[in-house]
């Protein structure tokens, strides 16, 4: 029996040799960990959106943030923008013929518009004059009738034309009879008046609200300028102000930490390298700067640097923040450098003939980069807070330049009547600070597994 063996060359199993995946660098690995965390990814998207809002926004929404729209002051978003076009105002010639009617004591003559409200009332027996009040809420006591508009000292005149800063809303007018000595008699009548918004022909044409010509425009309805997020107490567009304010707030919030972290890295690595006596001296100075009451000195520096009256004050704030904030990073970097210097891989590298420059660039900086990046991310919300605080107490950006903090400062004064003026800038500050905090958490978890938050 002949044994026949046929040998065949087997295929080389290529796969067996490549069982491992390509090795990841530290940054690839960190990016993989970062991507796995939905919270940090979402906050990164929001930061990009806020960045676009700030940088691209003013190119798209080109309204001047300092332009005042006096017809629309403190209007909330989505307010009625309609205005009827009317002829220019003609003074109401009030005669001494008393107005009489049996049904009402007090009435509106003609139409109540933002141009004028014309009131007339029945004469009161024994009165020697009248006082007219206006209130924005229904008066509930005869002693609190609102804003006194006028005193009429002639008892025969029983009419009044109100032209004082009228807004499209409901007003409560009250008329009180005055005695011969000028005291208020008890008689008074109150009337609720709904005021509609009108605009004169000339103004409508001057502002380009309609393409119709003068004669056919009267009686038409035009739409006033559109303010998607409403206006502030001076009638300035909130959206435009938020965009321009973001430039100030984010500029300071990003640039100041960037510069002082850089200074801190330089200072800290010098201290870490030289070690010994010089290190002690440098770090004592850093300790001193840390001990300074931060916000008090921010305010002091602000006063010193802010010399020109017309300046916005951004530069002063930036400089003050940089001068006072670098030591924290310097301490951190110095600690890192001192620690890394003792690591075995530095010794190994040196043994293989690496020079100082190589050690710094190849080992020290990449190994502190993670910590530095995390510090930087957490420094941004801090700087935004500081800017907002200073602007809020009136020491920050000079008006009329908007910043989120100064907008909050202005908004807080009208928060009961027009809450949107406070809410929008406050939401922007909070959201920005929130996403930078979340990003910082995410970066910390991704870059340095030893520092994980939980």
């Amino acid at each position: 029996m002949e044994a026949s063996f046929s040998f065949e060359r087997t295929e080389t199993i290529a796969r067996a040799v490549t069982t491992t995946r390509p090795s990841l660098t530290y940054w690839q690995d960190a990016w993989r960990r970062f991507k796995a965390n939905p919270r940090s990814l979402i906050s990164l998207y929001i930061i990009v959106t806020i960045g676009l809002f700030t940088l691209v926004g003013p190119w798209v929404w080109t309204i001047n943030p300092m332009l005042q729209d006096l017809d629309q002051i403190s209007v909330p978003p989505g307010a009625d923008r309609r205005a009827r076009v009317v002829e220019p105002h003609v003074r109401w010639a009030i005669t001494e013929t008393p107005w009489t009617t049996s049904t009402t004591q007090l009435a509106v003559i003609g139409e109540a518009t933002t141009q004028a409200v014309r009131l007339a009332w029945n004469p009161v027996a024994g009165a020697s004059g009248y006082r007219v009040y206006r209130d924005i809420a229904e008066p509930n006591s005869p002693d609190a009738l609102g804003l006194p508009l006028t005193d009429i000292v002639n008892a025969k005149i029983t009419g009044f034309e109100d032209r004082l800063d009228l807004k499209p809303r409901t007003y409560f007018y009250s008329v009180v009879a005055l005695s011969s000595k000028g005291f208020e008699l008890k008689e008074h009548a109150t009337l609720a008046v709904e005021v509609t918004r009108v605009i004169t022909v000339n103004e409508a044409i001057a502002r380009g609200l309609s393409e119709l010509d003068e004669s056919s425009l009267i009686g038409e309805t035009v739409y006033l300028d559109f303010h998607p997020l409403g206006t502030d107490y001076l009638g300035r567009d909130m959206l435009a102000r938020l965009m321009h304010g973001a430039r100030v707030s984010l500029f300071i919030g990003v640039v100041a930490p960037f510069i002082y972290v850089l200074i801190g890295i330089l200072y800290g690595s010098i201290a870490g390298f030289v070690a010994g006596r010089w290190d002690q001296l440098l770090m004592r100075f850093a300790d001193f700067v840390v001990a300074l009451p931060f916000l008090l000195f921010m305010i002091l520096f602000k006063i010193i640097f802010n010399t020109e009256p017309g300046e916005s004050g951004i530069f002063a704030m930036l400089l003050a923040m940089i001068l006072l904030s670098w030591p924290a990073t310097a301490r951190l970097v110095r600690g890192q450098i001192l620690q890394i210097r003792e690591e075995a891989y530095i010794g190994a590298s040196r043994l293989l003939g690496a020079g100082s420059m190589y050690l710094i660039l190849r080992h020290m900086i990449p190994n502190t980069m993670g910590v530095i990046l995390v510090t930087l991310t957490f420094a941004v919300p801090g700087a935004i807070f500081t800017e907002a605080f200073l602007s809020f107490i009136g020491m920050g950006v000079a008006p009329p330049n908007p910043s989120w903090g100064s907008m909050c400062n202005e908004g807080i004064k009208t928060m009961l009547t027009a809450p949107h003026e406070l809410v929008f800038p406050a939401v922007f500050i909070s959201l920005t600070v929130l996403v930078f905090n979340l990003l910082g958490d995410g970066l910390r978890d991704a870059l340095d597994t030893r520092m994980r938050s939980d």
Binding site: L292, I303, I304, L422
Partner: protein
Amino acid sequence: MANSRTNKHAYVRYAVIRLIQGAITVWLIATATFFAMHNVPGDPLMDEKAVSPEIRKNLQAKYGLDRPLLEQYGIYLSNMIRGDFGISYAQENRSVNDIIREHFPVSAILGVLSIVFAALGGILFGALTAINRNRLPDIVIMFLVIMGISVPSFVFAALGQMTLVNVNAFLGVSILPVAGWGSVSHMIMPSLILGLGTMAFLTRLMRSSMLEIDNADYLRTAISKGLPPTRIFLRHQLRNAILPVITVLGPSIAAITTGGFVVELVFAIPGLGRYFVQAVQQSDYTVIMGTTVFYGAFLVFMVIVVDLLYGLVDPRVRLD
């Protein structure tokens, strides 16, 4: 025995060194403030009504503004050592000492109340989240904490005030006053608001501190001994986890004093912070210098006191 004596000795030495360092820092703050204020363009007499050169000269002589800068600095320092901060330029006949004496207690009460509130709340909520880790209370509280860290104090102040207005209007009676100062009911809302940010921060710290000791040997021992959970919690977990919270109380005091500026402005509280901001706006030199140095000294020594207390509480702390 000998060991404890050397420890005590080291502690006293450490305390003395820290106090000397603190005094030097305060001196540097005073110097920096002095030269900073004298480099400010314009002078405090400029705001007054137009005065003749003679009157102006007299006023300058009265306040010593005509002397050389170094002499002014010498006078300023020697007065300050004697505890005299000078007289306000803007509010005639009112010494800075008076202003501090009258308004600092208000700020101090507000600050102490909010620190107490922040510390109690932070420890309580931090412990609560750590015990219920990854369960509903943890998730809810940690969400609120992130909000508390991200929302500026003036927004909280405004929201708090708005809430009070609406609640008072809704109930028809004033349960808490909206602004002002005077009674205990005036203090509640502002100190709550002022403490919120710090409380959020302390909650976070307390939580991670509790989780850190979760695997400690002494806890496992306590559990295996069969101690009741409340005793384990109070005697072992809480006591050990609280230490890091105490260390940050010093810096927290700084955060709360400056945060107080805003709350005092919003709630119309006559505290020192409000007067400081006012003095800055009126360029009232002496008040600015006086309050800055006073606040600076206060903060520096607060941090030292807290550090020293920490050394007493935790014997493991290295004194160097």
